[in-house]
């Protein structure tokens, strides 16, 4: 008796100009897109679409990118419907454990630190890490060269881990941002001296764009197997071993039937498959 009667009384003064019916219809309209309950055949992937060419958003709101197409083809192999859940990159692991989605498909590198928290599928792809700076800048991806400079990285990324561990302790100011596009815009306007990120993401998100004119890679590819790991994978909950098995099988199949190759060629002009 309590809630209904209580609310009836409560809303009386506010509502009585509208008829109750229009009010209820209004409420339902407001609610409709919010009520999407996860069905069993859905496969929900967490993604932070600020990272072209892996995942980004078109002006019409649809998602695009290598990870998105890879995920869609995995879903069709598994005969499940892909649902993409947008989440901030630095909250991915917690959100996965909190069951906001079933897998992280967002250029997530496979690392030992993350393996302590979550499981990974087999490796999806492996891309190099590079420093970017204004063209002609003498900066090199070393602590000596970067001392006293501000270097932007994405919060929660392997690039942040590397920069903090290798440079941050030696007098380089490492500045984490919530997403890579925010890093690039501060690099363009001059708040940062350099940015450290995935070479392909930098190329697509900055260097190939008109606003990225005047910027280029600084120094060579940075290698560190122990921090960067073997490449990226789909992050999964440790308890979902069945799902991990299914995804690995599907991944195997799209490698064999040429789907992976076809998507990869669409986005990259060189081989990104894991060695």
């Amino acid at each position: 008796m309590l809630p209904g009667a209580l609310l009836g009384q409560l809303y009386q003064p506010v509502v009585d100009t509208l008829s109750m019916k229009t009010y209820l219809i209004g409420l339902m309209l407001v609610a409709s897109p919010l009520i999407t309950w996860g069905a069993n055949e859905e496969l929900r992937f967490g993604v932070d679409p600020t990272y072209p060419p892996f995942e980004s958003k078109r002006p019409d709101g649809s998602l695009t990118g290598f990870d998105i197409e890879l995920g869609e083809s995995l879903c069709s192999e598994l005969q499940r419907r892909c649902v993409w859940v947008e989440n901030a990159f630095d909250g991915m692991v917690s959100a996965l454990k909190g069951r906001k989605f079933d897998g992280i498909l967002s250029a997530l590198s496979i690392t030992e630190a993350r393996k302590a928290e979550i499981a990974f599928s087999n490796t999806l792809y492996d891309t190099p890490a590079r420093l970017v700076a204004p063209q002609g800048s003498p900066l090199q991806p070393t602590a000596e060269s970067l001392r006293g400079k501000r270097v932007g990285v994405q919060q929660g990324s392997v690039f942040e881990v590397y920069a903090k561990r290798m440079w941050g302790l030696k007098g380089v100011e490492v500045v984490p941002y919530q997403s890579s596009d925010l890093t690039y815009s501060d690099l363009i306007n001059g708040r940062l001296d350099a940015a450290f990120d995935d070479a392909i993401a930098v190329s697509e998100g900055l260097l190939k764009k008109p606003m990225g004119k005047g910027f280029g890679y600084a120094g060579e590819v940075v290698k560190s197997p122990e921090i960067f790991g073997p490449g990226t994978g789909i992050g999964l909950r440790k308890s979902d071993t069945a799902l991990a098995g299914e995804i690995n099988q599907a991944l195997e199949r799209i490698h064999q039937n040429g789907t992976y190759e076809r998507i990869a060629r669409k986005y990259f002009d060189f081989d990104i498959s894991p060695k």
Binding site: D90, G91, V93, S94, A113, R114, A116, E117, Q155, G156, E160, V161, L169, G171, E173, V175, P176, Y177, Q178, L182, S185, D186, N189, G190, R191
Partner: protein
């Protein structure tokens, strides 16, 4: 929890080893922006209440805009929006100011709290007891004396309870600083979360710190009210 405190305790409180971080930065943001906001709000509140229409109107518009839009959006405009304009970047003095995230945050916080404080003070001014003004005039005070010796001190005292709430809100508002790369308490929590994946502990420690700060502020203001508003009891 214990390991996080051992590893990041100093970061949370005063320094990450190279610069101020955590509690000290949050306090700095709070004190500077609240003081600047209050200093600017006093004349604006007088203009808003006693100034002529063409002076009061812009002040009203300012408080409407800054109270009607989220602080987060105001900070985005100041930090990212202005920096995207070449006009700002090509002027050395402007760019010196806007290049630093800390300046941007303090400016946004000060503008924001100033707008709210103007409304608080103007509200208090409207309820100035007539007797106070009449007594001042009866003593033969000039207009200037009336403002400096009666209206403003009386306004500041009586605004204290509402203003203490506003200061707590400014404390809460400082948490937005991390979006402009300023290493305040919440930024350290985000770093800890990224480094350890212990989300609950990382943000939980931040919440505790803010709670302690808020309680301390409430205590200080209670003491101040007891002294400064003693005549009302």
């Amino acid at each position: 929890m214990i390991e996080i405190l051992k590893e990041f305790g100093a970061n949370f409180l005063w320094s990450d080893g190279y610069r101020w971080s955590g509690l000290s930065v949050t306090l700095w943001l709070l004190v500077t922006s609240a003081l600047i906001g209050l200093a600017a709000a006093i004349p604006l509140a007088l203009v808003r209440t006693y100034g002529d229409r063409w002076l009061a109107l812009p002040v009203q518009l300012y408080t409407l805009v800054f109270r009607g839009t989220p602080l987060f959006v105001q900070l985005l405009i100041i930090y990212s929006g202005l920096a995207s304009l070449s006009l700002i970047r090509e002027s050395p003095s402007l760019w010196w100011f806007f290049r630093d995230g800390m300046h941007c945050v303090i400016l946004a916080l000060a503008l924001n709290t100033c707008a709210y404080t103007v409304e608080i003070l103007a509200g208090v001014l409207r309820t100035t007891p007539r007797g106070e003004i009449e007594a001042a005039l009866a003593l033969g005070m000039t207009r200037r004396q009336l403002f400096m010796l009666v209206l403003i001190p009386s306004m500041l005292r009586r605004a204290l309870p509402a203003y203490s709430n506003e200061v707590i809100f400014v404390l809460h508002a400082t948490a937005i600083a991390f979006t402009a790369t300023v290493p305040d308490i919440l930024k350290i929590a985000a770093d800890v979360n990224a480094a350890t994946f212990k989300t609950f502990q990382a943000y939980g420690i931040a919440a505790l710190l803010y709670m302690v700060l808020a309680c301390a502020l409430v205590g200080v203001f209670r003491l101040a009210e007891r002294r400064l508003l003693a005549y009302q009891r």
